[in-house]
């Protein structure tokens, strides 16, 4: 349940940001990462960005999370 998934910030408006999560647009709260900028990658947990992460790390993380997710659904 403590899983957090990486996504890229598309735009920011107040405390909300639109993110690109594997092609889906998602709106999350950014109050926990006030320094975030459009273009950054963040880890998202329960509708909140909780950590800014490097692009390369985000890509790697996505690939194994995808495998884990498929596994959990089996």
């Amino acid at each position: 349940m403590c899983i957090a998934v990486p996504a890229q910030v598309l735009s920011i408006s107040g405390q909300e940001a639109e993110l690109n999560l594997q092609g889906n647009v998602l709106s999350v709260c950014i109050s926990l990462v006030p320094q975030v900028k459009p273009g950054d990658y963040v880890l998202v947990h329960a509708g909140f960005a909780i950590h800014i992460i490097q692009e390369q790390d985000a890509r790697e993380t996505l690939s194994y999370l995808k495998e884990l997710e498929d596994f959990a659904k089996q």
């Binding site: 349940m1 403590c2 329960a46 909780i50 884990l68 959990a72």
Partner: protein
Amino acid sequence: MQNNENILRLVENIKNKVTRPVRIMEVCGTHTMSIAKYGLKQLLPPEITLLSGPGCPVCVTDQSEIDLALELSLLPKVTLFTFGDMFRVPGTKGSLEDMQASGAHIHIAFSSLDALRYAMINPQEEVVFLGVGFETTAPTVGVTLKQAQQNNINNFSILSLHKKIVPVLENLSSQKDTLLDGFLLPGHVSTIIGKAPYEDLAQKWHKACVITGFSPEDILTGIAQLLKQINSENFEIGLQYKRGVAKEGNTSAQAYLKEYFQTSDVIWRGMRLIPHSGLAIDPHYAFYDSCIRFSQQHPPQGKTQPPEFCICGDILAGRKNPPQCLLFGKDCTPDHPVGPCMVSSEGSCAACYYYGR
């Protein structure tokens, strides 16, 4: 898998490092899933025993806490929001899913803000958010409380069953029969709290500790780093999951934890009361505390007993394995879970049922 060679190299490195039998607890439910998925137990040398720890918030929620949520969901005017993970967990008189089927107003939320938004547009209802999770999740609830306050929302409250990970790990370390050598510490709890709160595990309890990510490479690297600490008896808080954790953690999130929560003594499933291991709503925000609003006691001590024969507590403490439970795979299956370790896909019993251990 793309990185087979890399995996084999990491396993070889572990084989070279292991000098005696060691017991390592993977604290996070996502670690448990990843270990099962990639068959890591089968790859590791027999000297290494991996135990699933208390790091799935659903699994450690006590039955009496679930009963408290069920009770609130049945009160007039109440609409209860829960994360999907908690929906099917059985309490004494059924699950939230059962309550919904018999007419209670229960919604599944992706975020605590979903519940707040619902409260804003439905002022005639009493909206309760069932707050479950560790330090990863609790700050998000803190932000939601701040927004509730800023918007003068009066029909919203939190049933805070949040828990802290460090006190339970210290509690397990203090029990002689758990015989643990080290911990693969959880990645995303550490994203928030950083390294410092774990310090006593290494210094006082002499446990090897490495904050570890979730890919098979992460986990194998974490185990190798643990072995290095165990061999040298030089215990410290290692940080393997550097891409997701800053040494100092997320200080904004820590500020929300500090402002909106206070530590409390709570029950962990099968482990009884652990002092200072809960995160209750801070008294300054009592107005938003469901327990106070609806005059309920938390923790609801001694009110209910866990299901007969369920050994979730011993499993979460690493003392027993799921197949040692009399109900495992017979009366207790993922379709008809008796205890929460079978409900959550991250639970030890469910992982064992699906993938063997």
